[in-house]
Symmetry: C2
Subunit: 428 residues, 2 copies
Amino acid sequence: MSQPLRLGIAGLGTVGAGVVKIIQQQATLLTMRTGREITISAISARTRKKDRGVDLSGYGWEDDPVALARRDDVDVYVELMGGSNGPAKASIQAALDAGKDVVTANKALLALHGQMLAEKAEAAGSVIRYEAAVAGGIPVIKALAEGLAGNKISRVMGVMNGTCNYILTRMEATGQGYNALFDEANKLGYLEADPNLDVGGIDAGHKLSLLSALAFGTQVDFDGVELEGIQRIALEDIRQAADMGYRIKLLGVAQMTDRGLEQRMSPCLVPANSPLGQLEGGTNMVVIEGDSVGQIVLRGAGAGEGPTASAVLGDICDIARGYRYPVFGQPATSLVAAQRAQSVLAAPYYIRLSLRDKPGALAKIASILGEAGVSIHRMRQYDHVNDIAPVLLVTHKTTRAELDVALTGIEKTDVVTEAPVALRIETV
Amino acid sequence: MSQPLRLGIAGLGTVGAGVVKIIQQQATLLTMRTGREITISAISARTRKKDRGVDLSGYGWEDDPVALARRDDVDVYVELMGGSNGPAKASIQAALDAGKDVVTANKALLALHGQMLAEKAEAAGSVIRYEAAVAGGIPVIKALAEGLAGNKISRVMGVMNGTCNYILTRMEATGQGYNALFDEANKLGYLEADPNLDVGGIDAGHKLSLLSALAFGTQVDFDGVELEGIQRIALEDIRQAADMGYRIKLLGVAQMTDRGLEQRMSPCLVPANSPLGQLEGGTNMVVIEGDSVGQIVLRGAGAGEGPTASAVLGDICDIARGYRYPVFGQPATSLVAAQRAQSVLAAPYYIRLSLRDKPGALAKIASILGEAGVSIHRMRQYDHVNDIAPVLLVTHKTTRAELDVALTGIEKTDVVTEAPVALRIETV
């Protein structure tokens, strides 16, 4: 039997406590599977005295996660505090400097500083593993970086923010509006401290940028993700989508095109009977398309103590078994800067306008669309309420560039009361 | 850069040729991802002269796969011939004896001789990898043995024979009977040389037995899989199932119960709108349930050149990167003999009987069911045609043992013309 693998765990929220529980309760199983005992040397959290439902008395304590990361009795530094800077970043850097391996669930940190950390890790001969950073318990990093390593990946798609999907599916199920469901999600503790991370699509965008790097051998480029949140989705949009056989999902798409890497995270219409369309509540789904494997679909809980801790343990077990490879699946120095391509592929779009009750208003809209090269597949106008009429359009296939010209033109007129809502229709 | 990883590939059917193609076409990508060049030293197949759509001129040739497996210039022996005995078994044993690692797609061989081969591999310090043996391109072995290694697995389910699923979904779509679709599948080359491997559920049973070993730490026990094929499924069954909101799938279920390991591969009714119910054609799906992760669903192509070759390459890349762990996820000597438990969990069943036109016939059936403790949830009798009336029953929850008593009793009477068809209803 080899030496024990000794962990230092920073952050004892639900996930951190969940990891400790598994290590305590499944000790025999973990040793059987990895050939090593997995032990916890020391822990760190914001407050020491708090009942976390797990016995922590046998472990060393560090107030400072940086000190924890540097301890001689720590082989793997497990960072579960979160945050894209501050203690998380400082402590992971300290761990790498000290030659430790790192396991983290921190998507924001990796999305913003992934390239720097990957270079640092490789220089130090350390690994960074982050299965828990993307899609909770679904082993998607593993599938992409290992299982499908023989494939040239062409596209990765996914619904990867459970809170947004909860809000959207509950709007449809209950007939309540966005604000009411936002409040409900907040009360249930589903929202990040900064809710915009969730509903603004940022959290999901972080995840997508990590999958892109793994899939395409490009440097993580979170800034290259076209982001759009779900804040402007109205009940009306959900109903209209349903009426046409679609559901609205905050969908991430990353694909390598002739012109470069396209990455977007935005609410889209997807067929209601497709695997993505059928996702309920907090469930996540990732779709991976490779030249040999075709399409692989992975589904599971996207968050929560158990699923996230499961992913952390998967990484720890790999390290215990001696599995080591570069952070983004190939040497950090070989990752190329992504050439950004903005939605070069045409798609139909759903558009909702709030039209003023003026003569010629609709004609104006139609002519702006026509001039931009956007042709209308179908259109409905409803009754005016308070002099405003909802107009719903579905376009024929158009590029985002053409559409943006049209939308900007429409917004500048005096016939709409707010910027149009435009949602891409994906035939996944 | 490390030394190249040198392969010897035996079997150049579609999968073998596909593997060669990927290694030739994606050489740069594979080296980037694994840090090593992946080369082919030599190959072996039944006939040397045959156009396989790929240039084989640069490789050594061995008529005998055993000789290939033993070559000094082979680090990894890739067995893609198939067959549970004969050359496949002999050559894998030879490879292990010579201290080589093995990658194989051979589910039958591992299902029947997995324990022996695992012990041999571990004694030799070799690994055997077999992602391609189960569910084609879906990285399910990886998910189970690695990604979910922190979980106590409670249940694994799956639709893992594309040919059966093709026949069943085509019956529903076209309204043609089993025999017609069997012939169609045969013409399309979807059936194994011995079709019973497919339609008898044996091939899928082999796969299930491998997943069981990985999931539960038990010795592979293919003989412990309760097997039932799809040969007796009639169009009527598919229609009745649809009518009740179900679809019929050849479903594998392996679960650890208080009484032991339950493994069955049989046609079942599953909800039409469930992920399993929606599977079309040759697509495979595996559902894994763990104590921490909850439920993970994996979906993808279950067979074919590209998907299977993708799985083989995933294994090769892991070996190139130096990943090594026991064949069934824990030391072979620690795997315990599975205690077989036959369907201890009760479920409702769908039963179809062919009843003779005799006074009291239905009463006789009902009384046999009642005496066995099987209560009827609903029943329909149709018109007699040629003195035979189809009777369709759905029972309340019953154990397989109780049901078997009833079915045996019914078969012994003179009021049915053939053994009843009984299909479990799974509420997955």
